[in-house]
């Protein structure tokens, strides 16, 4: 047999993507819509952008910027002006390491799925607001806005990287100058994988927020008996004779990690949110929207 041609591979991959795109996009759009509506009230048909003022249309204004509804009530044309004239760049990093595949219970989405959903929904919201979005270390690494960027983001999120690391390390931002950075991860890697890159980013960029996504079982540690714990990729393993005996210590360790993250956020002027996959994604998105939107 011949090797499958590159184009065939591409096509197969794109079909796989196409299968997930709409689902993710639909879910993200729906989530985003719900948040926007929650934020602005129902009477406004538009989504997500802050109204600033109406002014009379001047020659040179793009026709598309004319607010015809307002203009229809009087003899002159009006242009709606928005609050933000210039777009910010928002960098979003949904962790896609193997550890994010974990789900403690059937029926609860994995951490990775949750991170992807939140990232996508946030992107949708931001795109609507005209912000430029960047997903570092992916095909959407260059900050852009608009629908094409959303598609690129969706593709980036949906692409399953075969050589994913066990635990996600915060990526280098390089030249990227983001006004806001959003990190969606379980932050289960070693301290070295997390804090030095974060510090580097915090030094260069503006504010950010850390969304610490955890599974319930990671919090409660409901295990007992003789167990060999293995990391999702199998790279790490730890054997215990009585898992129950480790529960308190484990929870201490986890609390320490959370505390360290929170402390980092406080010092850097960032925001920190612990999000459980058993909770509704809406709360997290609302929080993100408000934080990014600068309302806090």
């Amino acid at each position: 047999m011949n090797q499958p041609s590159p184009s065939a591979e591409l096509r197969a991959a794109s079909e796989g993507l196409a299968a997930t795109f709409p689902a993710l996009m639909v879910a993200a759009t729906r989530l985003a819509a719900s948040v926007a509506m929650g934020d602005h009230g129902r009477r406004r048909a538009g989504v997500g952008e802050d109204f600033w003022q109406y002014r009379q249309a001047l020659p040179g204004d793009d026709l598309a910027t004319v607010d015809w509804r307002r203009s229809g009530r009087s003899d002159t044309a009006y242009v709606r002006e928005r609050e933000w004239e210039s777009a910010h760049t928002v960098a979003i990093w949904p962790d896609s390491a193997q550890s994010m595949d974990y789900s403690g219970k059937r029926g609860v989405s994995s951490k990775g799925e949750r991170a992807a959903l939140l990232a996508m929904a946030l992107s949708v919201l931001l795109a609507k607001a005209g912000e430029r979005i960047a997903f570092p270390a992916t095909i959407a690494a260059i900050p852009r806005s608009g629908k094409r960027q959303l598609q690129r983001i969706a593709q980036a999120i949906s692409t399953i990287n075969q050589t994913r690391p066990e635990y996600g390390s915060v990526p280098e931002f390089g030249d990227l100058k983001a006004a806001r950075s959003v990190f969606l991860s379980d932050f289960m890697g070693t301290d070295d994988q997390i804090f030095p890159p974060l510090s580097a980013i915090a030094e260069r960029a503006g504010t950010g927020c850390l969304v610490h996504i955890l599974d319930d079982t990671e919090e409660t540690f409901p295990f007992d008996g003789r167990v060999i714990f293995e990391s999702m990729g199998g790279g790490l393993s730890f054997e215990t004779h009585r898992a129950k005996g480790l529960r308190e210590e484990y929870r201490e360790q986890l609390a320490k990690r959370c505390a360290a993250l929170e402390e980092f956020a406080r010092q850097a002027g960032w925001q920190y949110l612990k999000h459980h996959t058993s909770q509704s994604p809406r709360a997290a998105l609302l929080w993100l929207h408000m934080v990014i939107g600068g309302q806090r």
Partner: protein, 902 residues
Amino acid sequence: MTSLVFLTPWILLGLLALPLLWWLLRATPPSPKHLRFPGVGLLMGLKDIEKMPDKTPIWLLLLRILAIAAAIVAFANPVLNPETRAEGDGPLLILMDGGWASAPDWSQRIGEAERLLEQAARAGRPTVFASLTQPLPQGMPYRDARDWLSVLRALEPQAWAPDRQAAVDWLADKQDFETYWLTDGLQYGEADLANALGAKGPLRVIGTAKQPLALRPLKLDAGQLSVTVIGASPIAETVTLTAYGTAPNGIEVAFASITGTLPAGQSEVTLTFQMPLELTNRVTRVTLQSQTSAGAVALADDGSRRRKVALVGAGIQEGPQLVAPMHYLRKALEPSAALIEGSLSDVLLGAPDVIVLSDVGKLSIPSARKLLEWVEKGGLLVRFAGPRLAAEGAGPLVGDPLLPVRLRAGGRTLGGAMAWNTPKHLSPFPESSPFFGLPIPADIEVFAQVVAQPAPDLAARTLAALEDGTPLVTQRQKGDGRVVLFHVTANAEWSTLPLSGLFVQMLERLSISANPAGPEAVLEGRMWMPDRTLDGFGRLVDAELVAPVSGERLAKPVGLDARPGLYSSGDLSVAINVLQADSTLAALDLPIGINIELLGQTNEQSLKPWLLMAALALFMLDVLGTLWVTGRLFNRGVAQAAGLILMVALIPTPEANANEDRIILTANDTVLAYVITGDPTVDNISAAGLLGLSAVLTERTSVEPIAPIGVNIETDDLSLLPMLYWPITPDQAALSEGAVQRLNRYLATGGMIVFDTRDAQLGSGFGVLTANGKALQRLTASLDIPPLAPIPAGHVLTRAFYLLEDFPGRWSGPDVWVEVSAGGTNLNDGVTPIVIGANDWAAAWAVTDSGQPMFPVGRGLTGERQRELARRFGVNLVMYVLTGNYKSDQVHVPAFLERLGE
């Protein structure tokens, strides 16, 4: 004696591997669980606080070793009390004793013989099967063993002893063979069958550990019924005897029971019933409670009845008492009868069986009328002649009803100094006479007598005559009774008859006295017709064979040609019992080296299933234990499964309180009940039928019964059940004493039983003709059942809820019978305690689980109409039993009239 044998012992070698297993299991810790968990990074560097042993805990190890050991031992096929009956080859003879002594464990014997035949058939051995109570075959008809199964299944135990001598003779010239002999363990006569069989080849004797017991014929001992239990048991036996008799309403009931002990090593014990004479005389049979065999039944006849005899003389007599007629009669009757003396009117009040009038001439008209009434009701009046009778009995042209013949005046005198003729002797008794066969002593002479008027029927009325043909004893039927006249006096004045033994024998033959001389005297010289015969189980059945049997044969031990039972000859009746007055039982003599093997495989017990069960249980425990050790026991799924298993395994069987629960159940709700017959098909139909009826009741009436229950009449409490539906099957077991009592109490206290023989399609309805009809008769024989009649028009059952004219079930058959309503005297306020029908109502009512009728009734719409009527009858029945005669109250008459007028 218990012994344990392994059928495949080499498997036990596996036990040697146990230490190895021990080591292996011990070295293998319970395997850990692998879990994917991202938080493992945080766990790194943590230390276990408690260390779990990575070796299997010792108790788990023991559990496993035990389980494996149990399994190994189980597969080695351990058998407790093994049967050592090996299969042989060559020709085989299977002999069964088949007599009354085999009856108590008959089914076991049949089962064993069947097993032996099957075994022989498997081994392909030519086989002969024979029962020693049946005629033995000609030669040795070897056949395939399976061919004998049909013979075996038709075999019934017989009521006589096996003829071992015949078997010995039969075997004398036969070729060698192996023998299985199913014996009853008794020795009969001298026949040494065991040696005769042993000479032919290997012999295996199979029997029971329990030696049979038997009863000798009943005896009257100082007016009390005494029964001798005989046995050959090496251990002491407790015996309970029950005397049954006929109650005034014609139903056989138990009169009394006594319990005694047959001491070890003794062959007999005599027990005496202490009963009033009236009861003693009514006893029809005595049975030994623990055994159902013909030998354990002693039938009663006239011989065991002590007659009440009234002696009435001719007023006050002066003169020598010792030669007075009354003295002779007293002496003759005293040993065997209860005597009362007095004036005629006095003794009539005592309801005697027999009244003897010795030389009483004229009776006053009222006494004569009373006496005649008494005779016509079945009394026996025996009169002796004498001077007064000779003087007064003569004359009237119309015969005196209290004399069998008309008498000539004065009588005659034979012999004497002035006479030509000499005293006369007796001529032989005619064949029609009850005295026929009695030997006549030569020295009996008659000097004087009263003489009968010649009449056309004189010869027929003559029981004994003189040489010249003059009647000496005459008899005449009068109503149900009879009048007998001895034409001589009861003392030696007119004849020497009262001085001879013949006098006593003649009185005996007249059933005046119980026969102290034993039955032979009665039997001798007559032909006897069997009325009812005993079968091997001791049940009285109507005689199939009606050929008369000679008395001489009956005096010998019973057999095929002279079955035990009740025989009659003319007015006489005798009971022929299996055993005779001098019978004893002896244990079977077996040659040294031959032992009786025990019947049945009841003792052989395979331990394999139990051990396998134990191993399985241990393994399940091991599973739970392992889960517990590895901390997986309380995972939800596992815990649920384990809980389920435990629940199934540990659900207690609610046997103990079943009866109590049932009482609570029946007290809380109305519940219809049926009698469990033991036939699962019939029982299912009953249950489904009553379920259907309950549904109909719930739907149409305010009676809302819960699901019907089956009732075991031997054990269950009946007191709270409104009615019992009792389908009859041919093979229902007879009722025990206790069950009869409880059923009678149930009927007397407001219960109702609906008997259904279910055989109306056979045409005749319930009757003697069908098997079910017979079974009904048998089952209800001892129940207290009032007189019955077909349901009359206007009976409450026809209008308790619906207006009905007939009462079809699955069949639309003959009448349904209920208690005769006899104006106000009925029990339970006129509600019949018994309904008997043959229409198979349950089948018409029966519904399946989905509520569909279970059986077709009739055809098409007509059939559905019939089913509807059957349901209506059911509703009426329940309404009737619950509301009693409410609907017969006059207050409803206007409503009925209105309804009928529409």
